[in-house]
Amino acid sequence: MSRFLPYPLLTVALALTWLLLNAPITPGSAALALLVGVSVPAVMRALQPRAVLVRAPGTLARLAVVVLYDMVRSNVDVARIILGLRRGERRTGFVTIPLDLREPFGITVLSIILTGTPGTLWVQYDSQTGCLLLHVLDYTGGDEWVRRVKDRYERPLMEVFA
């Protein structure tokens, strides 16, 4: 397993990409997909990337649903702000969030989530202190944003990538 398939996730992703590009699936393209999926990770081994360990697939699925919902909702929110449909005063501001998540893949996924939900912009992350600087379009005082990021995204991510 580890000898022939050092990165099983990469193998699956590459084979799937190949099949998607060469649809409809024929025996020939399936064989080529398998070849690409097996040979490229073997080359990748020379680069020695860190292996990804995904635990708790249930938590991952729940997180995906939460992120999908938040993405649609924040898209509508930001669209309303841009079109000027929202009444009342709106403030923007920077929020500093001390992250407990240190796993590089977890941080990467968190950056994708925060970018995928408009209204939050990842400005800077300090890997020494673990502090994340975020710009939010709809700033509410206090640590509402800190709690939101920590409860909704960081905690499940820490369960998935440990």
């Binding site: 930001v78 000027g84 994708i112 800077q124 600087l133």
Partner: protein
């Protein structure tokens, strides 16, 4: 132009998805004009890069699948690529802007962390 063999409801569904997606993208571009500071403006194009892009790609996959009579999912690759590349772009841009603003000491510069 093809699509004569398509049922009417499918055509309306495809068009609705594409138009709503394009509307989100257009709103994002409008935000580029309407919002006042740079850090506010960076939020705007993500509308097109997330929901706008997703709706248009779903609409395209639906149309091509119906036309060719099989599942055509390769447009999803554009979506995957865009989803992983947009954070890198915006993150680098925001960092560069933060760096310049701090260096010049403009009032809207982000605080140090």
């Amino acid at each position: 132009m093809s699509g004569a063999e398509l049922p009417l409801w499918a055509a309306w569904l495809v068009v609705a998805l594409a138009v709503v997606g394009a509307a989100f993208s257009l709103t994002g571009a409008l935000g580029l004009i309407r919002l006042r500071t740079f850090y506010e403006r960076v939020h705007a194009p993500t509308l097109g890069a997330t929901l706008g892009m997703a709706l248009i790609l779903i609409s395209s996959m639906l149309l091509l699948s119906l036309l060719e009579g099989r599942l055509v999912l390769r447009d999803a690759l554009i979506g995957v690529f865009l989803t992983v590349s947009t954070p890198v772009t915006l993150l680098l841009l925001a960092r560069a802007a933060a760096h310049r603003d701090r260096h010049e000491g403009t009032p809207e510069a982000p605080p140090e962390i």
